[in-house]
């Protein structure tokens, strides 16, 4: 019962996330609005801009859409990992921690929940983006994209859990936001190609796992990418494994005082 593979605990932790997600409808709409407006306004405003190293048919909106999708996934999943801090604040974390369930199972349960909600957000975004003018490239891409979506979500839920495990409360949240989330987003090539950056910034960008996520999804959605998709996939698998282990370790050290 206390093994990490505790199906019932994983299921109920996931189920709780689902119920909370479905019951917070205004949040679902709210968190989709900004990336959608970005897509719509920037995509229209920079209509004539042709990103370098992209095929002729790719306009800026289509270039931007995978990037904004990555942002939806990054923010959504990271918040859902960090929601541990809310659970701590509202006391529910104690209820979870006092149960005979291994800490790893708790992390995995939350990861599954966060992956699902982020994926649903991403899917909704894709639907509205298609309405705004995103043209899906191929059927194969439609299969490949969800894979990248789930990988990004899994990794960033665990970034959130890891951070929540070392933070006491939401005090440090704006630090995380401004010095982690936004830089990762800006360096990921979600909005513009990184070739324009000075060399050292480009090097930083190569260290941004989201770069590979965006690139992989670009391959899936519009059929053009900077790296071979297998490279993107491998980098994400490695990043994901590192983050899951890190967050599992850090979370198992959490004490409730």
């Amino acid at each position: 019962m206390s093994s990490w593979f505790n199906v019932q605990a994983l299921y109920v932790l996931w189920l709780r996330e689902m119920k909370r997600y479905v019951r917070a409808r205004s949040r679902i709409i709210g968190s989709l609005a900004m990336p959608f407006f970005f897509l719509l306004f920037l995509g229209t405003g920079f209509k004539s801009f042709r990103p370098p190293s992209m095929p002729e048919h790719v306009d800026y909106l289509n270039y931007l859409a995978p990037g904004m999708l990555a942002v939806v996934l990054q923010f959504g999943s990271m918040f859902s990992g960090m929601a541990i801090l809310w659970d701590r604040q509202f006391g529910f974390l104690k209820e979870i921690m006092v149960a005979p369930v291994s800490r790893v199972a708790i992390v995995l349960g939350r990861t599954l929940g966060g992956m699902t909600t982020a994926f649903m957000q991403g899917f909704l975004f894709l639907v509205v983006a298609t309405g705004a003018g995103l043209r899906l490239h191929s059927f194969a891409g439609c299969v490949l994209t969800p894979l990248f979506m789930l990988m990004i979500a899994a990794a960033f839920v665990n970034v959130g859990i890891a951070l929540a495990s070392v933070m006491r409360d939401m005090q440090g949240f704006s630090l995380v936001m401004n010095f982690l989330m936004i830089p990762l987003f800006l360096l990921s090539g979600a909005m513009f190609p990184i070739e324009q950056f000075p060399r050292w910034v480009q090097l930083l960008a190569y260290a941004d796992p989201l770069l590979y996520g965006v690139d992989g999804m670009r391959f899936g959605l519009i059929g053009a990418s900077r790296f071979p998709p297998l490279v993107d996939f491998t980098v994400l698998v490695v990043f994901c494994s590192i983050m899951v282990s890190t967050s599992a370790y850090l979370f198992s050290q959490v004490e409730m005082d």
Binding site: K19, G91, K94, P100
Partner: protein
Amino acid sequence: MVATGSVFSAACQQPDELFALETRNLTKQYNGLTAVDRVTLQVRQHEIFGLLGPNGAGKTTIMKILATLTLPTAGEAWVWGHRVTHDKDAVRRCIGMVFQEPALDDRLTGRENLDFHGRMYGMQRAQRERRIRDMLHLVGLEDKADVLLKQYSGGMKRRLEIARGLMHFPRVLFLDEPTLGLDPQTRYHIWDYIRQLNAAEGVTVILTTHYMEEADALCSRVGIIDYGKVRVVDTPACLKNSLGNDILTIEAMPLEPLYTALAEQPWVQSITCHDQTIMVSVRQAEQTITSAVLLAQRVGSTISSLAVRKPSLEDVFLHYTGKRLRDEGTTTQGQHLRRGHP
């Protein structure tokens, strides 16, 4: 860690008795502050054991250590024979916990909160559903089962938490300040639930409280704790008898001459005065009451009220810690004892 060897051999000599809970020199320090100071306790099975002490005395920290939520700095503790530091999951399986602050998800309904709990403890569907029904019945929340917790009152949440603490048939139920901040009526109801479940389910109950009446009304034994140290452990009756005194409560005008005169009497064991009331501990009130009245006459004080009472837990607390409970809660009895300082 100190002297566990001898304790163990002592325990081994009487293998029949498994304590529901045992601690040995349990200590917890936070940044050099000692919150729990070498606490040694033994709680028998099926007891209702109370930890009585003011806020900040270390009660909650003890609970958290016993519930595996935080590690002790030193010392050891066993719950139902399992070490809290080594056998966490075994401990977690046999305890139920009701925290001081609500630990519920208020975006779920009452039933969903219980269901979450049942699944986390690996209960199968049929058993889970039956148990949810029984527990909701026990705390009288059947008709609110499918309402979101946001709409629950404080007392309802508390009752739901007690129900949840019992969901998985725990051996030991920890209740951290179970009636804190509740109105007197709800408090009496919760006392009833606690008694009922102790009787019906045979569950051992460990509760913390800073309400004297609560400890007195509920607990088979009480440990008085202050500054992280356990001062004394006994039944409420024995604790009160151990003072061995009657207490005379005298209101008089003017107060000072009587106070001075009484303080000089050989039969007065101790005397305190506050709120225009003198409290005198005497060995036997029957023999001294007349002396007190005569004395008042002689010094020219008019007695407006004179009462004899047995020592309360409040007096016991005062005796062992040298002070009154710091926190003035919404107590319903003996308010005059809690105001001001001697």
